[in-house]
């Protein structure tokens, strides 16, 4: 059909190691954009990142302060619940362990919150111990607004809706509070290796 967009059908990468591709996923070389609303545009002068909620003292960083933190290059595979996987994506970002260093908390859960109102929830242990970053660059370039820039979460061991775009902070909580997609029919945890896409999976 003439009006089916390019890229509508995934191209299977024949050389992708099947062990890297979770069940039900196909590998894409493209980088689709999926979000429920308009792309926020927050100026760097107004941007900040906060850790709030159940902790000894809230923390915050301006953009300059955030970019002065130690950052690293991270290469990971990412998996979207809409069935595409992208292998060896390269990011630059600050480990959540760095942001939480020295914090005293009894919280067991964390909610990521973003410009535009998006939220997603996780056990705190899923963003600590080298499993999560706040990233500001993709493929060697500053993260584009459509892909969540100026900064988004990167939590690659779960479906990518658990990596909030346009992230502005983490709220530490003693209770688990389902976020945007979790209250709209998606799985509360989202492990791609167990195909935890929807509630009840």
């Amino acid at each position: 059909m003439a009006f089916v967009s390019r890229g509508f059908r995934g191209r299977r990468a024949a050389d992708a190691d099947p062990a890297r591709v979770p069940p039900g996923q196909y590998v894409t070389r493209d980088f689709p954009v999926l979000s429920a609303g308009p792309t926020p545009h927050t100026s760097l002068e107004l941007w900040d990142f906060s850790i709030i909620g159940e902790l000894d003292e809230p923390r915050g960083w301006s953009w300059e302060e955030f970019r002065a933190l130690p950052s690293e290059e991270i290469t990971r595979d990412i998996h979207c619940v809409t069935k595409w996987s992208k292998l060896d994506t390269v990011w630059q970002g600050v480990s959540v362990d760095t942001l939480l260093a020295g914090i005293e908390t009894s919280a067991e859960y964390v909610t990521q919150y973003s410009d535009g109102g998006y939220t997603t929830n996780l056990p705190l242990e899923d963003v600590t111990g080298g499993k999560a970053w706040v990233v500001f660059a993709y493929g060697g370039q500053p993260l584009a607004p459509e892909h969540g820039g100026p900064a988004r979460m990167l939590v690659p061991h779960l479906y990518f809706w658990k990596s909030a775009k346009w992230v502005r902070g983490l709220r530490l909580q003693s209770t688990d509070e389902p976020g945007f997609w979790e209250t709209n029919g998606y799985h509360n945890y989202g492990n791609p290796w167990q195909e935890q896409r929807y509630s009840g999976d």
């Binding site: 003439a2 009006f3 089916v4 967009s5 390019r6 890229g7 509508f8 493209d30 980088f31 689709p32 954009v33 999926l34 979000s35 429920a36 609303g37 308009p38 792309t39 926020p40 535009g116 109102g117 493929g139 459509e146 892909h147």
Partner: protein
């Protein structure tokens, strides 16, 4: 208000059909952008469903048939300002189409003063990289 770019009309048509099947007469406006008349789908059905609160506006961006009097360019803020309800009427928007189309429409609506949370977007197609 529904704003469709090319094959983005498909999910919006599902909404229009559901509304019609339910006998709903909520004011609904569709702005449907396509390259040419040949690329418009559901044309007859949209004509049949017009009225009862549903109005349809087309824009043909590349090729217009003789005598075409409706829009003949890509959706832009001026067109949206003419076709969309005013922000004070608190409309809800659903827009679907290729990613650059949806980005442009959503951004234009926000700039026109519409609440971002009232704009639902469905993007498809590559962005490259």
């Amino acid at each position: 208000m529904l704003v469709a770019g090319g094959s983005g009309i498909v999910p919006l048509m599902a909404m229009i059909r559901t509304r019609a099947a339910a006998g709903n007469d909520t004011e609904t406006r569709l702005l449907y952008s396509a390259r040419s008349e040949d690329d418009l789908i559901y044309r007859d059905e949209l004509e049949a469903l017009s009225g009862n609160g549903l109005t349809v506006a087309y824009t043909l961006t590349d090729l217009q048939p003789p005598g075409w009097t409706s829009y003949a360019r890509r959706v832009d803020p001026e067109m949206l300002a003419e076709v969309a309800p005013r922000p004070a009427e608190q409309p809800r928007f659903f827009t679907c189409g290729p990613t650059p189309f949806v980005e442009a429409v959503a951004e234009a609506l926000v700039r026109l003063g519409h609440e971002p949370r009232a704009i639902k977007t469905e993007r498809f197609g590559p962005t490259g990289g």
